[in-house]
Symmetry: C2
Subunit: 157 residues, 2 copies
């Protein structure tokens, strides 16, 4: 992965709707060279896909909650049930198993605190949790899907 690949990736990370013409011009490439690079990056799996981002408040999920969970059970079967439960709940957009004193960190989007409470009830109805601690986002200072390319490996075979 060279500098031109990085340039292309950065452009399409910000805007997946850029045409090949725009991309190739901004990257200083011919249309075809550009197309082949992007195709290669897709085939290699570096590009995972293109998605459409929606305005959360316009679809009435303007409140974001972070939920820190602790569990008493640390078995594989518990994790399996937990994973299935959270994957089935569309309000939950992120679930991470963590180092440290918190076992799991969840991110959820909901309309308001009342909806959060219903989500909470649904969650503890499906799985046993030792401790649940929630905080709400008052202000979103930064939130991006753009990843830094500064660490990308020089080449690959």
């Amino acid at each position: 992965m060279d500098e031109t690949d990085c340039k292309l990736l950065n452009l399409i990370q910000h805007d997946a709707a850029l045409s090949l013409d725009e991309l190739s011009e901004r990257a200083g490439l011919s249309r075809n060279a550009c197309w082949r690079r992007i195709k290669r990056l897709e085939d290699e799996g570096i590009i995972k896909g293109r998605v459409t981002l929606l305005d959360a408040s316009r679809i009435n999920v303007g409140l974001t909650a972070f939920i820190a969970l602790r569990t008493t059970e640390h078995s594989a079967s518990w994790l399996e049930r937990f994973s299935n439960a959270v994957r089935d709940i569309p309000e939950i957009i992120g679930v991470y198993r963590m180092t440290g004193d918190v076992d799991y960190l969840l991110q959820a989007v909901i309309p308001d605190v009342a909806a959060y409470d219903r989500l909470y009830q649904r969650l503890i109805g499906r799985i046993t949790l030792a401790d649940v601690s929630s905080s709400f986002v008052m202000q979103e200072i930064k939130s991006t899907t753009v990843l830094p390319l500064d660490y990308a490996p020089e080449r690959r075979g």
Copy 2:
């Protein structure tokens, strides 16, 4: 926003590369009705944009850290400086001002713990922080850009 809009939004949330033909077929619409709906959703700002998602581990940022911050200063000018600092750091992909005992929650992606430490040093070099507490993601159980449409308002004028 009716049921067909939701269907369309859900399709394009998952895959922004779907063609109008595919979309209109799956939504049970003519090509043009489909195109007009999507255009309207864009113009109304419900669709924020299309982005390309990259595989974090392939670009060498396979480690995610959540960083809980507390500050002694609670002034507008501090927040301003803090916001500028975090926006300038590409490893930091999310920054949220929170309710509760933690003032700010940050999400960052880095190659490894050593890189995290350099990021940490950079951060505390630019701004004064009372307390910093970091946890690392051991396992990503769910992480999606897809928002739930269950709460979307029925109509809008």
